[in-house]
C-alpha cells in the first residue's frame, strides 16, 4: 500500500515536470493582470499562465542560463523567479518600491535590478534571491537618489548602468561578489534614459533625453572614459513631443551599422560602427520606441510611440530603405524575434492579442489572445550578452 502511494506520488511529480526542453519557450507580459503567459515558439502557441506578479507596467525579463527559469522585474519592485516547466512561482521578493528592469550576470549566478525608488541597484543570488549587494545611487538635492536606468550585464562579471537624474554611468565589477568594485563616470550628458550593450559586449551606449546625442563607453578601454557620439544630431530643428520614452536594445546593431531611435524626431539614426559617426537617418512613421535587428541582421524592425503606435516598419539593412509597413493593431508594445529570426512576435496591447509574422513574407502566421500584452521575451536570450 505504502509502495503504491510512493509510486503514485512519483508519477504525479513526473507529470508536473515533464521531460521537455525550454529553449523554444518564452514569456509574454500581461501587464494589467499581473500575469505572464508561457509560450512556445515552435507551434507557436500559449502553453500556460502564471498569475500574481503585481504591477507589470514596463516589466522585463531575463533567463537563467539553463533557460528553465525566468526572472520577471515588475514596476512595483517585485522580483519573481518563474519555473517555465511547471508554470509556477519559484521565488518572489519585493526588493524596492519602484523598479525598472534588470540583468543576469555573465556566470548566471547574480541577478541585478535597477530601481527608481529608492534609486540604485540591488544584486541578488540567482538561485535563492537573497540580497548580495545594495548599491545606492547618487543623492540629489531633493533628498532622493537618482533613478537608475539602462542596466545591462557585461563580460568580466560586470553590470553597467546609467543614472537618469545625475548624468552618470557606473560600471560595477562583481568578480569578487562580496566586494564589488564600482567605477563611476560623471557628466556623461543630460538625462540618460536607457542603455544598450553591443552584442559583442564591448560598447555600452546610453541614450540621452536631455540633449541630442548619446554617450559611449568602450568597456575594453575603461580609462578612455565616456565619449559623446552623434553630438547635436538634428541641432536647430524643432523637436516633436515624445509620448513614450524610446528603448535601446543591443540587437539594434546590424552589419556595419547601429540603428538607434532619434528622440523627438520621427527618424531612425544610422551610425557607422567603426567610428560611431552618423551615416544617415531614415524617416519613419513616428517616434521610434524599439529599433531591433532580426537575428541575422538583415532587417531592422521599428515600432512607435503613442499615438502612432498601431504600425510597425521594416528597414532593409542592405539598402537602408524601408521595405514594409505593417499595421498589426492598436498599441504595438514590443517585438521579439524567434532565435533564428524566421518569425517575429508582436504584442498588440489594446487589441488584446499577440500576432506572429513571417519575416520574409510579412504574412501573419499565428495570433493568440492575451490580456493587454506588453513585453515578449524568449528563453534564447539566456545565451546572449546584454539581454
Amino acid at each position: 500500500m505504502r509502495n503504491l502511494l510512493v509510486i503514485l506520488l512519483l508519477l504525479g511529480l513526473a507529470a508536473c515536470a515533464s521531460t521537455r526542453g525550454t529553449g523554444d519557450l518564452g514569456v509574454v507580459i500581461e501587464r494589467a493582470s499581473g500575469a505572464v503567459m508561457v509560450v512556445t515558439t515552435t507551434d507557436p502557441a500559449r502553453l500556460s499562465g502564471v498569475e500574481g506578479l503585481g504591477d507589470l507596467s514596463h516589466a522585463s525579463v531575463v533567463f537563467s542560463r539553463d533557460q528553465r527559469f525566468a526572472y520577471v522585474f515588475g514596476r512595483d519592485g517585485g522580483l519573481t523567479k518563474i519555473d517555465l516547466l511547471n508554470s509556477s512561482i519559484e521565488r518572489r521578493v519585493m526588493q524596492s518600491g519602484n523598479s525598472i528592469g534588470g540583468a543576469i550576470s555573465q556566470d548566471g549566478r547574480l541577478v541585478a535590478v535597477s530601481n527608481y525608488t529608492p534609486g540604485g541597484v540591488k544584486v541578488f543570488d540567482a538561485e535563492t534571491l537573497e540580497l548580495i549587494a545594495d548599491i545606492p545611487a547618487t543623492p540629489l538635492p531633493s533628498g532622493k537618489r537618482s533613478k537608475v536606468v539602462g542596466l545591462v550585464d557585461a563580460p568580466g562579471q560586470r553590470f553597467v548602468f546609467s543614472l537618469f537624474d545625475s548624468d552618470e554611468i557606473w560600471v560595477a565589477d562583481f568578480r569578487n561578489r562580496a566586494q564589488p568594485q564600482i567605477r563611476k563616470y560623471l557628466n556623461i550628458g543630460r538625462q540618460p534614459y536607457d542603455g544598450l550593450i553591443t552584442p559583442d559586449g564591448r560598447y555600452y551606449i546610453a541614450g540621452l533625453f536631455g540633449e541630442d546625442g548619446l554617450a559611449l563607453l568602450d568597456l575594453w578601454q575603461l580609462d578612455r572614459g565616456v565619449k559623446r557620439i552623434l553630438d547635436g544630431y538634428g541641432r536647430g530643428e524643432q523637436k516633436l513631443p515624445v509620448y513614450k520614452m524610446p528603448h535601446l536594445e543591443g540587437w539594434a546593431v546590424a552589419g556595419d551599422h547601429a540603428f538607434l531611435p532619434a528622440v523627438g524626431r520621427h527618424e531612425v539614426l544610422v551610425v557607422d560602427r567603426r567610428d560611431w559617426r552618423e551615416v544617415g537617418r531614415i524617416p519613419v512613421h513616428g517616434q521610434p520606441v524599439f529599433v531591433m535587428a532580426r537575428p541575422d541582421q538583415r532587417q531592422v524592425w521599428v515600432n512607435f510611440a503613442h499615438p502612432r503606435n498601431d504600425t510597425v516598419q521594416v528597414i532593409d539593412v542592405h539598402t537602408l530603405k524601408l521595405v514594409r509597413t505593417l499595421t498589426p493593431g492598436p498599441a504595438v508594445m514590443h517585438m521579439e524575434f524567434t532565435p533564428r529570426g524566421e518569425h517575429v512576435w508582436i504584442s498588440v496591447r489594446d487589441g488584446d492579442r499577440v500576432a506572429v509574422y513571417d519575416t520574409e513574407s510579412f504574412q501573419r502566421v499565428a495570433q493568440m489572445p492575451a490580456r493587454r500584452p506588453s513585453g515578449i521575451f524568449f528563453a534564447a536570450r539566456a545565451q546572449r550578452i546584454g539581454l
Binding site: 504591477d55 527608481y116 489594446d350
Partner: protein
C-alpha cells in the same frame, strides 16, 4: 471682480466640458490613463520615470495647474504636451479621474 467673473466663466466651462465626454470617450481616456500615462507614472500611478500621481497628491494641487501640466507638458522633463492630442474636455476628465472626482 473681473477675476471672479473669470472664475465663474471657468467653472461654467468646466461644467460644460464635463457634460461633453461621452461614455465611450471616457473609456478610451481611462485606458489612456492606465496604460499610456501608466508607462511613465506606473499602472497604479505610484510613479516611475515620472512622479507618483496618487489621488491625495492630485487633490492637493489646483485643478488648473494639473490641466496646464497635461496640456502643455513640463519643459525640461519627459512630460510631453498632451494638448496636441487631447481636447480640453478630455484633459478635464483626466484631471477629475486623477482627483478621484469620477470613477472609471
Amino acid at each position: 471682480m473681473r477675476r471672479g467673473a473669470l472664475l465663474v466663466a471657468g467653472l461654467a466651462a468646466i461644467a460644460a466640458a464635463q457634460a461633453d465626454v461621452s461614455k465611450q470617450r471616457a473609456s478610451v481616456l481611462d485606458n489612456l490613463l492606465l496604460h499610456d500615462c501608466g508607462s511613465c507614472h506606473g499602472l497604479t500611478l505610484r510613479g516611475g520615470l515620472g512622479p507618483a500621481l496618487t489621488a491625495d497628491m492630485m487633490q492637493a494641487r489646483p485643478a488648473q495647474a494639473l490641466v496646464a501640466a497635461i496640456r502643455d507638458g513640463i519643459p525640461g522633463s519627459a512630460m510631453p504636451p498632451w494638448g496636441e492630442l487631447l481636447a480640453e474636455e478630455d484633459i478635464d476628465y483626466l484631471v477629475r479621474r486623477l482627483r478621484e472626482e469620477v470613477k472609471p
